[in-house]
């Protein structure tokens, strides 16, 4: 078996077409840029507002006419966030919880996803529907039974309820991996089988290496989910120094008033890691580095 990769090259077009094709391409790219620019503007506005609010005094928030660029800019809000609450502590806690959860989730989910996508076994269809169905029952009605379960395990006020269940994979991730693994040509498995590759080998040495974008996608979703997860930390964590970011952020909202500038500054800082992982993760989405042929 031989899997080669090569970058995308546009096939040479007949000479006479060239100007026509260039014009066509230029036109197309203009449309692309126009769409992206206007769309980008629209999606950025609320975020710009968030940033702007994070640099205001409390008195400048939600006034009209709206203030977009407060004078002076209250950069101190970003310092204050770390002073009024143990924000750094939240940060470390969240990294710890998310890191373990994500790693475990990805591993267990990709295993199950592989099984559902590429192996034939009785009951797989039914079990797959069971996997999906775990996402269909509103968490509000299982929250209390789950709490009692973790209380019996003596896991209250530890990170275990946040980490351990996700180590066995989640419905979302299993489904995601199943779908992505399904797009890989079937001949590859057969070729691997002919070469005497075991199932574990096919998973680890054939499918996974071919699934870079899928793994990154799974990672980005799992990371974002765990990073922002609020309900479980609320229920299971008691000690303030164990709080995660999403839970800590809620403390900015008082019973009567919310310190909007601080909340927005804190939210901005809190989302940076998720954005950074996306920024760097998506760089591996480069079309053209794909299997161009399988010989076996």
């Amino acid at each position: 078996m031989d899997i080669t990769t090569r970058p995308l090259t546009r096939p040479a077009a007949p000479v006479g077409w060239r100007t026509n094709r260039r014009l066509h391409y230029a036109l197309k790219m203009t449309v692309v840029y126009l769409c992206l620019a206007s769309g980008g503007f629209l999606v950025s506005v609320p975020f710009a507002w968030m940033l702007s609010t994070s640099l205001k005094t409390l008195g400048q928030t939600f006034v009209f006419p709206p203030i977009w660029v407060p004078v002076p800019l209250q950069w101190a809000n970003y310092v204050k966030v770390f002073e009024v609450l143990p924000f750094m502590r939240y940060f470390i806690n969240t990294v710890y919880v998310s890191g373990l959860s994500v790693a475990g989730t990805l591993f267990a989910s990709s295993l199950a996803g592989f099984s559902f996508a590429r192996l034939r076994w009785r009951g797989s269809t039914v079990l797959f529907v069971v996997v999906l169905s775990t996402m269909m029952l509103p968490p509000q009605v299982t929250m209390i039974p789950k709490f009692i379960l973790f209380r019996i395990l003596e896991w209250i006020d530890t990170y275990n309820p946040l980490i351990v269940p996700s180590l066995f994979g989640t419905g979302f991730q299993i489904f995601l991996f199943r779908q992505f693994f399904s797009t890989i040509p079937q001949e590859i498995d057969e070729a691997a089988r002919m070469d005497g590759c075991s199932f574990v080998g096919t998973y680890a040495r054939i499918i996974l290496p071919l699934s870079g974008p899928a793994i990154i996608t799974g990672f980005l979703f799992a990371f974002r989910y765990n990073w922002n997860e609020f309900l479980e930390p609320l229920i299971y964590l008691n000690t303030h120094s164990k709080f995660t970011l999403a839970l800590g952020l809620r403390l900015f909202q008082g019973e009567f008033t919310t310190n909007w500038p601080l909340l927005m500054a804190a939210s901005t800082i809190a989302m940076l890691p998720v954005l950074l992982t996306f920024y760097f993760g998506q760089r591996y989405f480069i079309q053209g580095v794909v299997i161009s042929g399988v010989k076996g």
Binding site: P46, L149, F285, I286
Partner: protein, 302 residues
């Protein structure tokens, strides 16, 4: 002989690979689910012992509670409109962002950004954007000469406003399709191009079939997610005005934690479960017609 042994091995490994999940499922998920089945047949108020009431909760929610119908209606409309929009917009966006453009990483990040800033703070931010007289949205509409509606304050537009808001988070869908697009072998494009297929034909005959499993994923997750939408209504509208945004989950939550009718809420939850499961199975069944699988999933048949 080899074939049979291979099939047995495959069967064994099939189970082996799902064992971790199966263990987690049995340890942490099945128990609480079964408890909530039991609770659906009680009138549990959370704080005192539950009492069995048979099918009373189910009788009440089907015949004696008009708000259940309203909640189902609101939620179904929301899902019915927002899921197709999410899928199509996510697809378009991913196709645009898959072009070779300048500062690609940055542009992609801009579109992904809204799906990162989640939670209550953002929901409140949006309420301000939708404010009829002083909000950002109507100020923008005013610039192009449109007299904007009252959005969340009008029972005729409140749901539309929430649907509009849901599109802001389309970056998640974009990410999935974008990843899916990377898996389309370039040889297929090259072959199509050599055959003289224009870009539309290439999209229709190559791209779409190749990423159809990913579109299916988005559709199913869309159904599961949209029918359980909660935070927006909880924070922004409290179900109003006049129950126009009474999402099913909001009503369920109110029953469970505000009115202390956890038994009734559990019954509501299992009805929602059945509804989502039904829609999901329908989508999965009809997906055979439009989803193209390379793996065995297509061959096992469903």
């Amino acid at each position: 002989m080899f074939k049979l042994r291979y099939a047995q091995l495959e069967e064994l490994y099939g189970w082996l690979f799902v064992t971790p999940w199966l263990f987690g499922f049995l340890a942490f998920i099945v128990g609480p689910m079964l408890v909530s089945v039991y609770l659906a047949f009680t009138n549990w108020d959370i704080l005192t012992p539950a009492q069995m009431v048979g099918f009373d909760n189910f009788v009440k929610l089907t015949t004696g509670d008009p708000l259940v119908g309203q909640a189902l209606k609101v939620t179904t409309i929301y899902a019915g409109v927002s899921i197709p929009l999410q899928v199509v917009l996510g697809l378009i966006l991913a196709l645009l962002l898959n072009e070779k453009i300048k500062a690609m990483s940055f542009v992609r990040t801009v579109f992904y950004l809204p799906s990162v800033v989640a939670g209550v703070a953002v929901a409140l931010l949006w309420r301000w954007i939708f404010s009829p007289d002083f909000g950002l949205l109507n100020a923008g509409l005013d610039l192009v000469g449109i007299d904007g509606p009252a959005w969340l304050a009008d029972s005729r537009t409140a749901l539309s406003a929430l649907i509009l808001m849901s599109l802001w988070g389309v970056g998640g869908g974009m990410l999935i399709v974008l990843a899916g697009l990377q898996g389309v072998p370039t040889t297929l494009y090259e072959a199509a191009e050599v055959d003289g297929a224009n870009s539309w034909v290439r999209f229709w005959n190559v791209t779409l079939p190749m990423i159809s499993p990913v579109i299916l994923f988005q559709t199913v997750m869309g159904i599961i997610g949209a029918l359980q939408v909660f935070t927006e209504a909880y924070v922004m509208t409290e179900g109003g005005p006049k129950y126009a945004t009474l999402f099913y989950m909001l009503y369920l939550y109110q029953n469970a934690f505000e009115f202390l009718k956890m038994g009734y809420a559990s019954a509501l939850a299992w009805v929602l479960f059945a509804y989502i499961l039904l829609l999901t199975l329908l989508v999965l069944r009809f997906s055979a017609a439009w989803v193209y699988y390379e793996g065995v999933s297509s061959k096992t048949g469903r």
